[in-house]
Subunit: 334 residues, 2 copies
């Protein structure tokens, strides 16, 4: 079956890591139709819109979206796209790969970040001169669906030999109503999954545990901004943002993007690490039901990382496209 | 001069680490008057109040407060005390000590956390069934004083040979008004300190940088909840909460406490690490102007840590009071 994918390279290194990843996707032999669309600073400067209507239409019309990075306009582009596509679960794997400097070799868990509410609702006001407020929104409905998503994911992982555990991170001791609700609904949903363990920590403690005992986690679920902060820290424990992929998943749409930004300082030099985007494409392949191809790409990438056939940030001496070609070659040969 | 100190042991291991620290304080030879007061779960169970009025009075009446830990009632006790004492700066040193497993040996920076507003204002509501909100408050006034505090601290540290840099962490790309204000005031205050460098990062990136480049920081300043989350992660990079001290500083009052909680799982066993509380006492001694004694205690503690004369969590085989006595002995001998 032909997969129709909306490709948004965006700004800066997005223009390098995305084409490099397409190279790998084409090596799988799966038939893709790539529909290119624009978003970010460049199109904003040209047209006054960081996220043009045609891009929204293309994103809504395709089976999945592969996104690179946006510059200054990132929040306007990506937060809006997540909302428009109603991709309520932001899935961020945290995994140690051989050949990459990690805190421990046995780190392998998934952060599931609620992707639609919390402080990302965009409700702010200046209520007096020099007095500003933002509104953090937590609803039972959004809690229920994100927790079900997390428990279902833990169940899938359990089938593959993982522990079968969901850890909820919140700040219910201080945010008694909003995170009180978050925690209450977590344990309510947990009751439906008696094959899966459930535990909870305060977000501050959790931010320490990703450093002091990351090997104990399986699926970690948290609210929007906490997930934003926690997942960057977690990325730091397994080699940094150059390796951190993400999937934004909803009932109708999927949007796949590296966690890193447009990195203007290295843009155009072809030294950006394509790993995060290739791993995001692996998540996309699984979303599309192309499990065999997903495994093939991940295995090829693991080999390339272990052999040190990497960009300079990981100690290698290949450029972005050469590293991607090392992966693509192995994907073709398998 | 006699120093009158309000001592609140609180719950759990607070009853061990605080007396152990008093042992060290007394070894300095400085005359103290310790005024004992209660707070936490135990007094709550007995009287219905986690923070009795007499405790508030004692705290307001003394030169400084030394606080241990509270259990379930921690938020009600400590957040309230910080507000009542108007201790607007929460100072959390992040420092690698020899003998302690740290990410790097050259970590030495201070997190300054705004301590009075943000999401800690306690403004929450259930606006419909299953729909809850919390209000994050950022004011120009609170920003100005916390940034001045941070820049003054960087100036003091520069005199001791540090870089002289303040790093501001925020999320102004998403929280455009509240953190827009936070960032704007940061650079406004920075202009008054042209001898000190100023830089800013998004809080998510910052949470990675405390892992990937902690040696580059000097003074880090951020809002209340971000500071809460960031400082626990930072503690994880230098040995965990057993070593993380804090000072809550205002114009009139100072409150000193370990970052850790009451640790009910190990309470009563005398195995709790007293280091965080002893280091909090070092911060208190500096606040009281007892610089020579502060240096003496810190040096003694450094020696004890380097020699492995520690509690089991750090690999030693001493109990809480034996470890404190090793410190006290060296303080007396100097
Ligand atoms: C660019 C920014 C709006 C975004 C976020 O805050 O979600 C980014 O940090 C991320 O984690 O994907
Ligand atoms: C106990 C809790 C209310 C407190 C906080 O959130 O400030 C603690 O986590 C801290 O960091 O001192």
């Amino acid at each position: 079956m032909m997969h129709k994918i909306c490709v948004i390279e965006g700004d800066g290194i997005g223009k390098e890591v995305v084409p490099a990843t397409i190279q790998v996707l084409e090596a799988t032999g799966i038939p893709f139709e790539f529909v290119y669309a624009e978003a970010g600073d460049e199109v904003y400067k040209r047209t006054g819109k960081a996220l043009p209507d045609e891009t929204i239409e293309a994103a809504l019309d395709c089976e999945a979206v592969l996104f690179g990075a946006a510059g200054e306009t990132a929040a306007d582009v990506i937060v809006k796209l997540r909302q428009i596509l109603d991709t309520y679960a932001n899935v961020r794997p945290v995994k140690a790969y051989k050949g990459v400097k990690c805190l421990r070799p046995d780190i392998d868990y998934i952060i599931v970040r609620e992707n639609t509410e919390g402080l990302y609702k965009g409700i702010e006001a200046e209520i007096d001169e020099g007095v500003t407020i933002a509104t953090r929104v937590i609803t039972e409905k959004a809690c229920e669906r994100i927790f079900r998503f997390a428990f279902n994911m833990a169940r899938e992982r359990k089938k593959m030999g993982k522990e079968g555990k969901v850890t909820c991170a919140h700040k219910a001791n201080v945010l008694k109503l909003t995170d009180g609700l978050f925690k209450k609904i977590f344990y309510k949903v947990a009751e439906e999954y008696d094959d899966i363990k459930a535990e909870d920590y305060y977000i501050d403690a959790m931010n320490m545990y990703i450093i002091t005992k990351p090997q104990t986690f399986d699926v970690v679920v948290t609210s929007n901004l906490f997930g934003d902060i926690l997942s960057d820290g977690a990325a730091g424990t397994v080699g940094g943002l150059g390796l951190a992929p993400s999937a934004n998943i909803g009932d109708e749409h999927g949007l796949f993007e590296p966690v890193h930004g447009s990195a203007p300082d290295i843009a155009g030099k072809k030294i950006a690490n394509p790993t995060a985007t290739i791993l995001s494409a692996v998540l996309m392949l699984r979303y599309l039901g192309e499990y065999e191809a997903a495994d093939r790409v991940e295995k090829a990438l693991e080999e390339v990382l272990a052999l040190g056939l990497t960009t300079p940030d990981l100690g290698g001496n290949l450029n972005t496209f050469e590293m991607a070609e090392e992966v693509a070659k192995r994907v073709r040969e398998e």
